[in-house]
């Protein structure tokens, strides 16, 4: 019983060492990519295809948030970081590579008769000045305002578009990821929220009772984001250190190439033009 754990760990490590040593002779090169949970599924898919085309290469994609991507690259724990927003001041120590765009749509429950809101109305609702659907053309009912948690990039994009500060928002529910927002709105006919356009389009297609609102005249759709006619969008980025390795550079180039456009669309994001 004595020192069993240490012995076990040691034994495991030894076995592993043995396994690795006796494994296939060719050397594999591994690239670690960490960061944003929004971007991770996309980069995982890209990595799979890249591995298929480049034998002997392994791309390990890890998730944990944009801030993790930034700090892991800075500390040298990862070669590439995934960040779901654009660079801020003081972040130009890293190389930023844009890979895709993601629009933000305002969503309500499918039973809500409201079809469109003006930017002023949205601002008034999120400031808590308008608290009833009756005032913006709907059935009278108190509005449930769904907002994103502090620091999230969709929150920042949303707030800056409507000229709001994070303290100005009067929210009734605060959420994390897109799917939680969709489920919250789908379960509450009086709720309003904002999520990724691609995700909202897909869920609406699959029969989830949510509806994308027009913002003034702008129709939220991935096509509109592609053509630039829909105003609220963010850019998804990969970041790397000053001088990325050969493999990292190749992978970054691959992520920007037209070869992966179908994968980007497969995740309901918008490939960058070109």
């Amino acid at each position: 019983m004595r020192a069993t754990p240490i012995a076990i760990v040691a034994a495991l490590l030894l076995t592993l060492g043995a396994c690795n040593a006796s494994g296939p002779g060719h050397k594999t090169e591994t690239l670690v990519v960490t960061g944003s949970s929004t971007v991770a599924p996309l980069v995982s898919d890209i990595a799979r295809r890249f591995e298929g085309e480049n034998p002997g290469v392994r791309i390990d994609v890890q998730t944990g948030g944009s801030s993790r991507g930034l700090s892991d690259v800075r500390r040298g724990l990862a070669s590439i970081g995934m960040v779901s927003r654009s660079p801020k001041d003081g972040e130009d120590d890293l190389q930023w590579t844009a890979i895709a765009k993601d629009g933000l749509a305002l969503i309500v429950h499918a039973d809500n008769p409201v079809e469109a809101l003006s930017a002023d109305q949205v601002e008034a609702i999120y400031r808590g000045r308008v608290e009833d659907w009756g005032l913006v053309g709907g059935q009278p009912a108190p509005i449930t305002v769904v907002n994103k948690a502090e620091g999230r990039s969709t929150l920042e994009v949303f707030l800056s578009h409507f000229g709001l500060g994070s303290r100005d928002v009067r929210s009734s529910v605060v959420i994390g990821d897109n799917q939680q927002g969709l489920k919250t709105v789908a379960g509450n006919p009086d709720a309003i929220g904002y999520v990724s356009i691609g995700a909202a389009e897909l869920e609406a297609e699959l029969g989830t009772p949510v509806k994308l609102l027009r913002l003034g005249d702008a129709v939220p759709s991935t096509d509109a984001v592609r053509s630039g006619s829909y105003p609220i969008a963010r850019t998804l980025h990969l970041v790397s250190g000053e001088s990325p390795s050969g493999l990292a550079t190749t992978f970054l180039d691959y992520c920007r190439s037209p070869d992966v456009a179908d994968l980007i669309e497969g995740q309901y994001f918008v490939p960058l033009a070109g």
Binding site: L16, A40, S44, D60, Q62, R68, D177
Partner: protein, 290 residues
Amino acid sequence: MNGANLYASGFGRTRGDVLLSGAVYAAVAAVVGLSGWLLYDLLSHGLGPLSMTFLTAEVEASGRAGGIAPILLSTLLILTVCLLSAVPLGLASAIWLSEYADLSRGLGRAVHHSLDVLAGVPSIVFGLFGNAFFCVYLGLGFSILSGGLTLACMVLPIFIREAEEGLRAVPQSYRLSAAALGFSQTRTLFSILLPAALPGILVGLVLGVGRALAETAALIFTSGYVTRTPESLLDSGRSLSIHIYDLSMNVPGGEANAYASALVLVALLVVINTTASWASARFGLVRRAI
């Protein structure tokens, strides 16, 4: 059990007993109702996409398509690492705490309390800690080993407290009889105390396995997110619970496969628990015959 069964057969019916029965059956009905509701929800959504190919195929399109074979393998490996480190260490600690330590002061008290504190640490903190300690400081990287060891830290307090309680419930007379027979301490422990404490130890194991299989936040930062079939314990591998989390929270259109994966996880748990209690019943019987 016989004494207890006396009451199960309706001995001593009084008005108090009718009231008590009412309360007990109401509680049971509430629990069965709630869990039935939850499990029905799981079954009705999860059975659709479930098939043999789902269990044996690779993950495709972030999990929206394909199956979960590599994820099942990673999950089992993580669980194995977790149990191989947590059970011996936990059992030894539990024995020390219940048989040798003075819990009212000094080291015994400190260890006892620290385990209670450990039980209340949120899983995400375990995840961040595991990442800093196992992945970075010990250099194990994002790996099944890091994940399993992090989970072991998490499962330890649960397992130890239950095992400890099981040991403590062994009547003092057993120990005295063993001593009178001239058994060594080691022999007393292995032939008498541990078999007698088996129900408690088993509960600890069941709760520990449940916790380990269900854990998400502690694994995202340690065993990682990679869906490739792991080749060694130093490879990163995604667990079922993380897969479920990612599919339901992060991948649009992933809900159907999230439910199916959850169903697989629950089935896995039933299999493990049934095996454990079957094995312990056999083990227990053999011991009792001695």
